[in-house]
Symmetry: C2
Subunit: 117 residues, 2 copies
DNA sequence: GTTTAATGCATAATACTCTTATGTATTAAT
DNA sequence: ATTAATACATAAGAGTATTATGCATTAAAC
């Protein structure tokens, strides 16, 4: 899903949609390339979303009615802006809070001290 | 990989090996079924490792030289205990700290405030 | 006492998601 | 004039998990 100068492949799996939905909840509308750059920038290159992972994911989110699109011509170049639908806004909140909960669970699980006896 | 009364499938992907390695670093040796029960117990049923995910994963970790095995007969039933090799101990530390780092990155990414302007 | 649930291993078909590679095209930088 | 960056897209392959089985023993429930 990503290229990770830092994180191993398997570790990061499954977080793409959550990241995308969170960025879109903060930014109104964004286009694919912009998302890749934003994530790269915000994570100091630790997470780099690849296009091969992002575009299919955006398409499926649109097909699910979570994202809507708006195509804009910038000179002769095309940009496809994505934004959250009403459904998408609640999905975004759910995904982020679910992930936050999951992080708490994992934090506990990975901090557990040696079992005695 | 898991059944999750609580977490969605994609969210949890990729954490299985980290969880297993952490449990084994705290418990010396454990067998497969024991691992599934321990994770279930420690997470209040939020993460339930399925056998179809766990056993192939344990086998591949063994093949990589990260785990070693010891088969014990309990009556007529067989238990296969897994423990970390020397290599496995350092792999376990690396995986856990990598995940901790990843959680920090994600926490930042998912907490970012609306972009102005 | 007999059926069900729990313990304990294992694998195979399917599905899903990501990686890697490729393709097209425009615009900016060297 | 070439390379890098911008901007989209898809397809082949790989990896991992889900779901469904399968076998067998032991404990619990009825």
């Amino acid at each position: 899903m990503y290229v990770y100068i830092m994180y191993s492949s398997e570790l990061i799996k499954g977080t793409l949609k959550t990241i995308v939905l969170k960025l879109l909840s903060d930014n109104q509308k964004m286009y694919g390339y912009e998302i890749t750059q934003k994530v790269k920038e915000l994570t100091g290159d630790k997470i780099q979303i690849t296009e091969g992972a992002l575009y299919p994911s955006l398409h499926s989110l649109e097909a699910e009615g979570i994202l809507s699109t708006e195509t804009v011509n910038i000179g002769k170049r095309v940009r496809k802006y994505y934004s959250l639908t009403k459904k998408g806004k609640s999905t975004s909140r759910e995904k982020v809070s679910e992930f936050a909960d999951f992080m708490n669970t994992m934090k506990f699980l990975l901090d557990i001290k040696p079992q005695l006896g």
